[in-house]
């Protein structure tokens, strides 16, 4: 069973993480799903794969009314991000899915129709969640060629998709990074191989270092908070990526 944890709250403005599923089959990579809630409406970020839908749906329902979801946000097109789309749409056929324009005609292979998608242009866009402005921040080629992160300036939270992801040993189940140096060892190989472009990485590091971020939330592994956010950006900036042997 997945657990839901609230890690930011200011009145009716909340961030919830749906994390760690001990019943998940070993063949599936563990994923974090996030919900931003504002005045009763919610945006679900990277809702996950079709196989984990029951775990995500029931964990979400324990803390938030899924009927109050205003939309889904897919950082990119991967199966662990959005292959559950058809199931969410069965629950609510009117749920819009925000995704890069690049993938708007590919993701319907998981389900949905043209009306299901709100295409995000390359430069990003503002998404208004019931009065809360959220910013889709470009992160192309990190790792997908049409890729967005989501920034909440009021909560100072950046959802960073696969950037910051760590493939942690099964015993590690803390929500936050506790020891940066020990943690980042589990992120290094992933970033070297999955992130395809050093230029894109440089541009992203510059872009996000201009934002005020208290928490950087990746789709796999633990959340970076406080000084670990800057530590991560500096570490990523110095890493040579796009490396595969073969």
């Amino acid at each position: 069973m997945k657990a839901t944890q609230c890690f930011f709250q200011d009145g009716e403005h909340k961030w919830l993480a749906i994390v760690r599923d001990p019943e998940r089959p070993d063949a599936l990579i563990d994923t974090n799903e996030y919900l931003v809630a504002y005045n009763g409406a919610g945006l679900l970020l990277d809702p996950g794969g079709a196989e984990v839908f029951p775990a995500v749906f029931s964990a979400l329902s324990a803390e938030f009314d899924p009927a109050a979801l205003a939309g889904l946000f897919a950082s990119h097109q991967d199966p662990d991000i959005i292959s559950s789309l058809a199931l969410w749409l069965e629950f609510n056929p009117k749920l819009p899915c925000y995704v890069s324009w690049l993938w708007a005609s590919f993701i319907p292979h998981f389900g949905g129709s043209a009306e299901s998608f709100v295409s995000i242009p390359d430069e990003g866009m503002e998404i208004n969640l019931n009065g809360l402005p959220l910013q889709a921040v470009p992160a192309h080629y990190l790792h997908s060629s049409g890729n967005f992160h989501l920034y909440d300036a009021r909560a100072r939270v950046l959802f960073s998709g696969d950037v910051g992801a760590a493939l942690l040993p099964s015993k590690t189940d803390g929500l936050f990074v506790e020891n940066f140096d020990a943690h980042i060892r589990h992120a290094e190989a992933f970033h070297r191989r999955w992130m395809g472009s050093n230029e894109a990485k440089r541009a992203w590091c510059e872009r996000v270092s201009r934002l005020s971020i208290d928490m950087l939330c990746p789709q796999h592994g633990a959340i970076y908070q406080g000084p670990d956010v800057e530590r991560f950006i500096n570490w990523f900036d110095g890493l040579r990526v796009g490396v595969a042997v073969g």
Binding site: M1, A50, E51, F53, P54, A55, F57, S58, S61, A62, D65, P66, A67, A86, L87, E90, F91, N92, G111
Partner: protein
């Protein structure tokens, strides 16, 4: 709706899990609100005990009842814990059924378009059997949920009787009469609120036979 190819069991055209998911989510939200109200009852029962202590010998009957209300509020809290567990499992089971139905629909379409390909038909049957197992599981959950709701309803009836008796006793509380009436009145109001919510739940189409 699932098209019937004529080669797969007719009962494929069961009620949609998507609709059931909407219904179970509504039940879950109602239960969450009952749990929140039940939490208020705990605090009220404590207040009633403090008040009865202050009133001392002028409200002996109320004192006895306030202890009963305290026991009731604890029982209700435990029952709510059980209810939350059952509803969580039911939400998860309906989501699994939704997965099954989607897969089944795709396989069934493939079977029709392939002119009844034997392998596809086998896959379809296997998936169908799995869905039936999940459906049987859900039927059990449904009954379990109804059972737990029935137990909660009985408990709430008892709470209603206690609250009403406390209201009567409050009248004999002399100088404390008005504050005792207020506490027992609030208690009665909250019990009524839970009773109304339970009434809604029992009418949900989730429980109606297919």
């Amino acid at each position: 709706m699932i098209p019937d190819s004529g080669t797969t069991p007719r009962s494929l055209a069961h009620r949609s899990a998507g609709q059931d998911l909407v219904r179970i989510v509504q039940i879950n939200e109602e239960i969450k609100s009952i749990v929140a109200v039940a939490f208020k009852i705990n605090i009220m029962a404590l207040n009633a005990i403090f008040l009865a202590k202050r009133a001392g010998s002028t409200a002996l009957g109320f004192g006895v009842l306030s202890n009963e209300l305290r026991v009731f509020s604890q029982d209700l809290k435990n029952a709510m814990g059980g209810l939350s567990g059952v509803i969580h499992k039911a939400v998860s089971d309906v989501s699994v059924l939704l997965q099954d139905q989607r897969m089944l629909r795709l396989l069934q379409e493939a079977e029709v378009r392939s002119g009844g390909n034997i392998r596809v038909r086998e896959a379809l049957r296997a998936r169908y059997d799995r869905m039936e197992a999940h459906r049987a599981n859900l039927a059990l959950q449904r009954r379990q949920l109804q059972l737990v709701l029935g137990n909660v309803a009985q408990l709430v009836e008892l709470g209603g009787v206690l609250a009403k008796s406390a209201k009567i006793e409050a009248a004999y509380g002399q100088a404390f009469s008005s504050s005792l009436s207020q506490v027992s009145g609030e208690f009665d109001g909250v019990v009524e609120e839970i009773r109304r919510s339970l009434g809604h739940l029992n009418k949900s189409e989730f429980f109606s036979s297919r």
